[in-house]
């Protein structure tokens, strides 16, 4: 089995099904993730948000293409401490470095607790209200643009 097929063959497109990232890979990823996103103020560290556990399953469910590069990054730096691992990937394997950042940040920022802490409410439907007079009209901003006159060239 190749390095890529070891992981990608067990990656499911269903985010609810755990993927087959080896335990050692997840342990390595948790250490690297905390280096990239440590705890600070009210924000938890990446590993506290399970970026190497369930969040990894969700990320790779949505982005199975990342698994190959993640696994290669782990295999090639498993013996290094997290700082050295990140430095090596930056220097030697841009695709693996990109995949690690995407997996860590992706898993972290799709976690509902992190989104609540950031007060992020994107991707939620909100009906457009067209029955309210926009502030720019109330303040006369648009009127003043019109008063300045045409700015296009006659042709």
């Amino acid at each position: 089995m190749t390095l890529s097929s070891e992981l990608s063959s067990t990656v499911s497109l269903d985010a609810a099904v755990p993927v087959g990232a080896p335990a050692e890979c997840r342990e390595w990823l948790a250490r690297v993730a905390d280096l990239l996103i440590p705890a600070a103020g009210d924000m938890p560290a990446a590993s506290e948000m399970d970026v190497a556990g369930r969040q990894l399953d969700i990320v790779l469910g949505a982005r199975p293409d990342l698994s190959r590069h993640l696994l290669r990054g782990w295999r090639s730096t498993a013996d290094s401490d997290p700082q050295e691992a990140v430095r090596l990937l930056q220097d030697l394997d841009a695709e693996a470095y990109d995949a690690v950042r995407m997996v860590v940040a992706g898993g972290y920022y799709i976690h509902p607790h992190v989104r609540r802490l950031l007060r992020y409410t994107g991707q939620e439907p909100r009906t457009v209200r067209v029955d309210q007079v926009p502030e720019y009209l109330e303040e006369g901003l648009l009127e003043r643009v019109m008063e300045r006159g045409p700015i296009y060239r006659e042709a």
């Binding site: 985010a15 280096l35 990239l36 996103i37 440590p38 600070a40 103020g41 924000m43 969700i58 990320v59 469910g61 949505a62 982005r63 293409d65 990140v86 950042r101 995407m102 940040a105 992706g106 972290y108 920022y109 799709i110 509902p112 992190v114 989104r115 950031l118 007060r119 992020y120 409410t121 994107g122 991707q123 939620e124 439907p125 909100r126 009906t127 457009v128 209200r129 067209v130 926009p134 502030e135 720019y136 303040e139 901003l141 648009l142 003043r144 643009v145 019109m146 300045r148 006159g149 045409p150 700015i151 296009y152 060239r153 006659e154 042709a155």
Partner: protein, 534 residues
């Protein structure tokens, strides 16, 4: 083998408009589309993983998506990566729906500024078609914009400009600079059986509400109901010709590798400014060794892509700047028209867009950079919801060295030769962008930005593909006439962005659609004199 009065190649913006007009007039229409019908349930907007999917499966680049229905483009020798989507609705499925028109001066750059070429038509010729396509697609906005002549009133009320738009409107009020709520092909109210926008802020990865206009929801359903035949997963390899020099149809291939032919009296190319020259060049034969409809030598040349810069301001207040429609909250045309004292000709249009969710704050795709370690959280909070970005589209003047060719080695999933593009940003464009970056910086500072980041050229910004089969009156210097009819092959038409003479400095889909309607209605009106194969 299928037969039709009219064969349309490509089911995107111009193909949909053409099919709508032709079926309405009673023509028997068949369209070959290499992609599939998009399924709104696939669109990632409502999913938590939206931002992750936007960078792969829903990337604008066919080379990144790498779906079987996409064809690869060798863009290694291009400053800008071309972006597009293969499927019913075409690249409209993934566009931002910013819906400005060209301006009167855009049609007269040779006369006014001594550069490039004039178009064989004027703004006034296109005005009635703009008005009709605005209604058909459902355009929201505010009339009376002094950047345009009268007659540019969008049919639907404006979308909200949000806190970011209001802040910048106040800043431009102080500066005395132009701003205006942007015309968008996104519904502010229900229209023609479609629902209004619910502000997912994810327009460029497909609109699950159907509020954003794309021909898979605005034109194709009724065209099919009226009898148009739309064959998906049908990739055209070449246009077929008669010995009399007329187009007789096209050969196409299905994903399973089976080949077929469609015969037609008239052939319309609507495959975008890379796909259309690709098909014409792949249709080379003994009688036209340099490609079909190419006696001028201009097929594939004069590629224009609108080099794009962006400038982002950082603010103390949380303005929820991820929210709302993506195309533009407001626009600015203050620096659109030529002022030679600036050291360049022509100008740029600015668009104020949302600045993305938390993943984009951590790994910015536009201006800004990622920060890791102890400062990571502060960097994300600095960006998320607290940034405002001006996107700057500069006019891209035509240059014959910027071109689409057939790559000698690259092929698509069907084994058909794929295109390669060569594109370099010109000195005029560079000076134009630098000037506008400086003005956009002043704009954001006037609005209270405490810091500014800019991206002087965004490589993944080739949304606007134009000019590779230009229109004109002279067959020696143009590929088609002002109605899209090939000078060389009188029953072959091109109705996509390939026909643009110059690019203007605005998003082109509004103009592509209006031109397509004008061309096809001219074809319909002149059907009795149309040459067709025996």
């Amino acid at each position: 083998m299928e037969q039709a009065d009219v064969l349309i190649i490509g089911a995107g913006a111009s193909g949909g408009v053409a099919a709508g007009a032709l079926t309405e007039a009673g023509f028997d229409v068949l369209c070959l589309e290499q992609g599939d019908w998009p399924d709104p349930a696939d669109y990632p907007a409502p999913r938590a993983t939206y931002e992750l999917e936007a960078r792969k499966q829903w990337s604008g680049s066919p080379n990144v998506r790498n779906r079987p229905s996409d064809y690869p483009v060798n863009d290694g020798d291009s400053d800008v990566v071309p972006l597009m989507y293969a499927g019913v609705g075409g690249s409209m499925v993934m566009y931002a729906a910013d819906w400005p028109r060209l301006l009167p001066s855009d049609f007269r750059v040779r006369t006014l500024d001594g550069v490039a070429d004039d178009w064989p038509l004027r703004y006034a010729d296109l005005l009635p078609y703009y008005e009709r396509t605005d209604r058909a697609f459902g355009v929201s906005g505010v009339g009376g914009d002094p950047a345009y002549p009268d007659g540019a009133e969008p049919p639907l009320p404006p979308l909200p400009i949000g806190q970011t738009g209001l802040r910048m409107a106040r800043a431009h009020d102080k500066l005395g600079w132009h701003w205006w709520p942007a015309a968008q092909a996104v519904l502010s109210v229900p229209h023609a059986g479609r629902r209004a926008c619910v502000q997912y802020g994810a327009c460029m990865q497909g609109c699950p509400e159907g509020a954003k206009a794309s021909t898979d929801v605005t034109h194709w359903p009724s065209a099919v109901q009226k009898g148009a035949r739309l064959l998906t997963h049908a990739r055209v390899s070449r246009i077929l010709m008669s010995k009399e020099g007329l187009a007789t149809g096209a050969e196409f291939v299905r994903p399973d590798g089976t080949w077929d032919v469609v015969k037609a009296q008239v052939v319309i190319l609507a495959a975008n400014a890379i796909g259309t020259p690709r098909i014409l060049l792949n249709s080379a034969g003994p009688r036209h060794p340099h490609g079909l409809a190419n006696s001028s030598g201009l097929v594939g040349r004069r590629l224009m892509v609108h080099p794009f810069a962006n400038v982002m301001g950082y603010f103390d207040e949380d303005m929820a700047s991820w929210q709302g429609h993506v195309g533009a909250k407001i626009t600015c045309y203050e620096f659109y028209e030529t002022d030679t004292s600036r050291g360049f000709v022509r100008g740029a249009k600015w668009s104020l867009a949302p600045t993305g969710g938390p993943l984009n704050a951590a790994l910015p795709t536009r201006a800004g950079h990622d920060v890791w370690g102890p400062e990571h959280h502060a960097a994300v909070r600095r960006h998320l919801g607290r940034t405002i970005s001006w996107g700057i589209f500069g006019e891209d003047l035509p240059d014959e060295a910027n071109r689409v060719e057939i790559d000698p080695a690259l092929v698509d999933s069907s084994g058909l030769p794929a295109p390669r593009i060569t594109y370099k940003v010109s000195d005029n464009s560079r000076a134009l962008l630098d000037f506008n970056i400086a003005r956009a910086t002043e704009s954001l500072q006037a609005a209270g930005a405490y810091d500014i980041a800019s991206e002087s050229l965004m490589r993944y910004s080739g949304w606007h593909l134009l000019g590779t089969a230009r229109m004109g009156d002279n067959p020696e210097t143009s590929v088609v006439d002002q109605f899209g009819r090939s000078h060389d092959v009188p029953n072959l038409f091109i109705v996509d962005g390939s026909v643009f003479v110059t690019s203007g400095g605005v998003n082109p889909t509004s103009t592509i659609s209006a031109l397509a309607l004008r061309s096809v209605e001219h074809l319909i009106a002149n059907r009795r004199s149309q040459q067709v194969p025996a």
